[in-house]
């Protein structure tokens, strides 16, 4: 059953700027989240370096036994991570278009926001939750809360 679990945003220096669950997940301690996010950030750099082919991007997708982790790197270096059920369709597309748009509209256009500072925007939060609730509802899976 496809489902979107959570979204993390990692800044240009590898710090976790934002994280939000759209599903009842086993809680991850905040410190662990910071560590995981920056590990991911570092790993993206290493995998691009290790690529046997030239001009590699960072990691776009990690497929694990129980989840898919989609990752989208913006041109300015911000990384979006989206945790989903394995084989959830359209996740990469959703990140690249709708989520990024929301981020631009509600976070970047906010005059009080500074790059690489923690994202605290109620509007962004609200719209993001609504978006993922709608997506999950389309597949007939509600927010299990």
């Amino acid at each position: 059953m496809p489902a979107m679990y959570s979204l993390w945003i990692v800044g240009r220096n590898g710090g976790l700027l934002y994280s939000r669950d759209f599903w009842q997940l086993p809680p991850i301690e905040f410190n662990d989240k910071l560590r995981l996010a920056s590990s991911w950030f570092g790993m993206c750099g290493i995998s691009a370096q290790l690529s046997p082919m030239p001009d590699s991007s960072g990691i776009q997708l990690m497929q694990a036994d129980t989840f898919d982790l989609h990752s989208f790197h913006t041109l300015t270096g911000t990384t979006f991570m989206l945790l989903t059920e394995p084989h959830t369709p359209d996740a990469a597309e959703l990140l690249r278009t709708t989520v990024y748009e929301l981020y631009c509209d509600y976070v970047l256009k906010n005059p009080f926001h500074e790059m690489d500072q923690v994202v605290k925007s109620e509007l962004f939060d609200h719209n993001l939750v609504a978006l993922f609730a709608a997506v999950n509802r389309r597949w007939g899976v509600g927010l299990a809360q």
């Binding site: 690529s51 997708l61 990690m62 497929q63």
Partner: protein, 172 residues
């Protein structure tokens, strides 16, 4: 396309490259460094997958020791120019897995198998399992000249691997 076999301690036992357009010199620097980084990447990814696993009821810290085969593993990571396919063998990655002695566990030396392919290639889990069970175990582990955990270069294994890759249509 490249293929690595690492032992449990992270040493590269076998390496073969079919096609590598970006030489190691432009990547990790030297072959030795490339092996180290590749194992480090796989180990960290494995630990990350276990820590982030949304289905496990209890929270695990990243890198916390656990038994072989426990926790969530990953199958592949994909970038725009390559896809890394990963299989952890039953003897596990020792760096993160505390061995309950070696008794009872099959300790054939190999820790993980890594294959890099074109990003458009689908899941290779079964193919890697075949390489492990039918090629590695049959042609390497059962070879009396093989010392578990040590690098090896056996002609029958290399030939069979090449043949299998060609049969899969991955080599031109």
């Amino acid at each position: 396309m490249t293929f690595y076999i690492f032992n449990r301690k992270g040493r590269c036992q076998y390496y073969h490259e079919w096609q590598r357009l970006k030489p190691v010199r432009q990547g990790a620097g030297s072959q030795e460094e490339d092996f180290k980084l590749m194992f480090g990447l796989c180990w960290s990814m494995r630990a990350l997958a276990t820590a982030i696993d949304p289905k496990s009821p209890s929270m695990k810290q990243m890198g916390a020791p656990m038994r072989i085969g426990d926790g969530c593993s990953f199958n592949s990571i994909k970038t725009s120019s390559f896809k890394l396919q990963f299989l952890e063998s039953p003897s596990g990655l020792k760096a993160s897995w505390r061995m309950p002695g070696s008794g009872g566990q099959p300790c054939w030396g190999a820790g993980c198998f890594v294959l890099t392919t074109d990003p458009s290639v689908g899941s290779m889990v079964e193919q890697l399992q075949y390489i492990y069970a039918s090629l590695f175990v049959e042609l390497v582990v059962k070879n009396p000249l093989y010392t578990p955990g040590e690098p090896f270069l056996f002609e029958p294994f290399s030939a069979a691997l090449n043949k299998y890759m060609r049969a899969l249509g991955l080599l031109s």
